[in-house]
């Protein structure tokens, strides 16, 4: 689809909410959490569930999220989409919701997610798919794939484990300002480096959390958003790309398809990296935001390690990133992309309290799925940017 077909800002997020996070009540299901977040997000928007006629959902623990969520909520959406490309699924859902809303296929769309992976264990929540060409070598997936990418980035560009650790340290500094973040104690580079090694060069502190959680956002047309209670957060541009399924088929382990999704999102938004006030980048592992900073154009290829080492992404830095504390310190239920967007939306609404980025009008939310496989970018903007 050409950029000229994209109606910049014509769709807005009008409601956003997390479900219960961290460790949820016994016997809670992923669909319970989706439903809880949806009800909260619809209330946030000042709408009713009966008005929801577009439903977008995905989860690791169910193959048919839209069906089960519609059943739970007793709604009959006329448009639905359960595209599952891992943690970036929800950015894709936003892109698809924009097309659907612009074409009148629905009028109020909900994008929802839920996971109980801490309660049931990660192995139970996300069973691996058998692959003969990987299984004999016993890679712990997905972390080993990201470790291989990190090894290659270190080899080609001189990126250091200390630089990667700075990503985790900055995330923790932000998390200490987020009352619902899972991690509550400060973290140092030395602590990251001396933590238990999982897949070299990544220690457990280079890896995202394994917790329960979910979320939902409500989207409608910009015209309708004007009359609703919350300041609309407009979708300025979206980009979607998939480059491979298993890590052996990733063409170049140091360059992701975020390069494609980012260019598409920026072109549709008619913006560039210099216009972005806040970044929400999927931090499954410390290497991922380093790759995305490069591929989205915030620094040249190979400079990501040096970009993050001087506190530029930490509180007070020139490029505020992952202000919620990210998947590393706030919440990572397995497919974290929805929560990546919620923080960007809240920053534009100006409701982030101590961690609020002053004058945040444009925020970039970037999702990653699989083993650096799917890359989807959404640029959000305040009404002043449309």
């Amino acid at each position: 689809m050409k950029s000229s077909n994209w109606k910049r800002g014509s769709v807005a997020v009008v409601g956003a909410a997390e479900s219960d996070l961290g460790l949820v009540a016994q016997h809670m299901t992923p669909v319970d959490l989706m439903a809880q977040a949806t009800i909260r997000a619809v209330e946030d928007a000042g709408l009713t569930l009966a008005e929801v006629d577009g439903l977008f959902a995905a989860a690791a623990q169910t193959r048919s999220a839209p069906m089960l969520l519609a059943e739970h909520l007793q709604i009959q959406p006329r448009y639905f989409d359960g595209t599952h490309i891992g943690g970036a699924s929800f950015m894709t859902h936003v892109a698809h919701a924009c097309w659907a809303l612009n074409h009148g296929l629905c009028s109020v769309a909900v994008v929802a997610y839920g996971s109980t992976q801490r309660s049931v264990s990660r192995a139970a929540a996300s069973p691996g798919e058998y692959n003969y060409y990987e299984a004999p070598f016993r890679p712990l997936l997905p972390v080993t794939a990201y470790a291989l990418a990190a090894s290659r980035h270190m080899h080609e560009y001189g990126t250091t484990r200390e630089q990667l650790a700075q990503v985790a340290v900055a995330a923790r500094q932000w998390a200490l300002m987020n009352p619902v973040a899972w991690e509550r104690e400060p973290l140092t580079v030395d602590q990251v480096l001396s933590s238990r090694m999982v897949a070299y060069p990544l220690t457990v502190r280079d890896c995202c959390l394994v917790v329960d959680g979910g979320g939902a956002i409500v989207l409608t047309t910009a015209a309708r958003a004007k009359s609703l209670r919350r300041p609309p957060v407009h979708v300025l541009g979206c980009g979607e790309a998939i480059s491979h399924g298993s890590i052996v088929n990733m063409p170049d382990l140091t360059t992701t398809a975020a390069r494609v999704s980012g260019q598409q999102a920026f072109a549709r938004a008619r913006l560039g990296p210099q216009d972005v006030d806040m970044l929400s980048l999927y931090d499954a592992f410390t290497i991922t935001p380093v790759l995305f900073l490069e591929d989205l154009g915030f620094c040249p290829k190979g400079e990501g390690g040096r970009f993050v080492e001087d506190g530029s992404i930490a509180p007070g830095g020139k490029t505020p990133m992952n202000t919620s504390g990210g998947g590393l310190s706030y919440c990572h239920p397995g497919m974290y992309g929805l929560l990546v967007m919620i923080e960007a939306i809240r920053q534009i609404r100006g409701e982030c309290g101590k961690r609020q980025v002053a004058g945040c009008e444009v925020a970039l939310a970037h999702g990653n799925g699989g083993v650096l496989s799917s890359q989807c970018t959404v640029l959000f903007g305040a009404s002043s940017t449309v």
């Binding site: 080993t144 291989l148 990418a149 238990r196 897949a199």
Partner: protein
């Protein structure tokens, strides 16, 4: 149409049992791996046998509780295809990117199929 007598992976394993590391090429002669039915660049891929030599493209070491650490590598074969494997016969932490390696057939534990392994190529 009759059913294929062998899946792409079945054929790959059959080659391995003969001590050979097989891969495919598309219509333009470009290598394709892992083996598959067909691609946009060749509906009928041709099978080739690798000379078995390549270089480590990326490396990691996986640590599991109560188990010896295991090396996991991506190897770029000289013919231009890449595969996941393990370099054996050395400390897992000593495997380096760029190291020359040579293919050997891995013996399955239990009843699983054989798989390709690598050792340092000192030739």
């Amino acid at each position: 149409m009759t059913n294929l007598p062998q899946s792409p992976t079945g054929r790959f394993i059959a080659y391995l049992e003969q001590g050979q590391l097989a891969y495919q090429v598309d219509d333009a002669g470009r290598p394709v791996f892992p083996p598959r039915i067909g691609t946009a660049n060749g509906h009928d891929l041709q099978w080739k046998i690798s000379a078995g030599r390549g270089s480590v493209y990326a490396t990691s070491v996986v640590y599991r509780k109560d188990e010896a650490p295991l090396n996991v590598v991506l190897v770029d074969m000289d013919e231009g295809f890449r595969l996941m494997s393990r370099v054996e016969g050395m400390e897992p932490e000593s495997v380096r990117i760029g190291m020359r390696v040579r293919f050997v057939v891995g013996e399955p534990t239990g009843s699983g199929p054989r798989f390709p392994l690598f050792v340092a190529d000192r030739a």
